[in-house]
C-alpha cells in the first residue's frame, strides 16, 4: 500500500505549500495568521508520515495552540494595514521572486543530488515506527543520553518569558 501513503503525502504537501503561499499573498494579516495555522497543521501531519508522532502532538499543541495565539493577539494589538499582491507588486519585486525561485531549485537539486540515494540504504526509523511506536524510545533518550536538553529548554523559555513580560509591561504598571 505504498502508493496510498505516497498519494496522501503528496496531497498534504501540496496543501501545505498552498497554505504557506496563502500566508504571504493574502490581504489581511489576520488571514495570514489563519493560513499559518493550517500550514503548521500540515507540517505536523508530515511529521506523522516521517514516523515521529510525538512531534506531531507537540507541534500542534505548542505551535498551533501557543505561538499562534501570540500572533493573533499581536496582530490585533498592532494595527494591520491592507496589503496587495498583484501585478504591480510582482513588477516591483521581480528580483526577489526570481531569487526565491532560484533558491528553491538550487536547494532541491542540491539536497536530492546528495541525499537522494538514502532510500536505498534504508529508512530505519520510519519502518520501525510503522511496526512499533517509537515514542517510548524517544522519551528514554530524552531522559538518558540527551538529559541536558530539557533543563536548557526550561532556562531558555523562562528567560524568554521574563524578557517578553518586561518588554510589554508599561513603566507605570511596574
Amino acid at each position: 500500500m505504498g502508493w496510498f501513503l505516497e498519494a496522501n503525502f503528496i496531497l498534504i504537501g501540496i496543501i501545505t505549500i498552498l497554505m504557506a503561499f496563502g500566508t504571504l499573498s493574502t490581504k489581511k494579516v489576520m488571514r495570514a495568521a489563519a493560513f499559518l495555522l493550517l500550514t503548521l497543521v500540515g507540517v505536523a501531519l508530515t511529521y506523522l508520515f516521517l514516523g515521529f508522532e510525538f512531534l506531531m502532538g507537540i507541534q500542534i499543541t505548542v505551535y498551533a495552540g501557543g505561538i499562534l495565539i501570540l500572533f493573533l493577539f499581536s496582530v490585533l494589538l498592532t494595527g494591520h494595514e491592507e496589503f496587495k499582491m498583484d501585478l504591480e507588486f510582482a513588477k516591483e519585486n521581480i528580483v526577489q521572486i526570481l531569487i526565491s525561485i532560484l533558491l528553491f531549485f538550487t536547494l532541491t537539486a542540491l539536497m536530492l543530488s546528495i541525499y537522494g540515494n538514502y532510500q536505498l540504504t534504508g529508512n530505519e526509523l520510519v519502518l520501525q515506527a510503522q511496526t512499533k511506536g517509537l515514542t517510548q524510545d524517544f522519551s528514554v533518550a530524552l531522559f538518558s543520553h540527551f538529559n541536558y536538553v530539557l533543563p536548557i529548554l526550561g532556562v531558555l523559555l523562562f528567560s524568554a518569558m521574563l524578557g517578553s513580560v518586561k518588554l510589554v509591561l508599561r513603566e507605570e504598571e511596574l
Partner: protein, 105 residues
C-alpha cells in the same frame, strides 16, 4: 512494507524555505515577516526530522533537535512580538520601511 521516498519531504521543505525567504525579503509588516520566519523554521524542522528518520543507523538525535527548535521558535516569537508591540506603541505603526530612527534617511 514501504515508506514514502526521501525526495518528497525534501522538496516540501525546500519549497517552504524559499517561500519563507520570499516573505522575509518582500513583506513590510513586521508581524508578517515573523510569520515568514516561522515558515523557514518549519522547513528546517522538516529537514531535521527527515534526515533523522531516514538515517540508516536509526539515530534519533535529529528528533531531539526538532523538539529543541520548536521551543526556541516559541521563545523567539514571544520576544519578537513583544518588541513589535512596543514599537507600535512608540511609533504608531510596524511597517519596517518607516522605522529608521537609528539611521539617517
Amino acid at each position: 512494507m514501504t515508506a514514502i521516498p526521501i525526495e518528497y519531504p525534501l522538496i516540501l521543505s525546500s519549497a517552504l524555505f524559499s517561500l519563507g525567504v520570499f516573505g522575509v525579503i518582500t513583506q513590510k509588516n513586521a508581524v508578517r515577516i515573523l510569520i515568514a520566519i516561522e515558515l523557514i523554521i518549519n522547513a528546517a524542522n522538516i529537514n531535521f526530522v527527515t534526515f533523522a528518520s531516514y538515517n540508516p543507523n536509526a539515530d534519533i538525535s535529529g528528533w531531539v533537535f526538532a523538539l529543541f527548535i520548536i521551543a526556541v521558535a516559541a521563545g523567539e516569537a514571544a520576544i519578537g512580538l513583544a518588541i513589535f508591540i512596543n514599537v507600535f506603541r512608540n511609533f504608531g505603526e510596524i511597517n519596517v520601511k518607516h522605522l529608521f530612527t537609528l539611521r539617517e534617511v
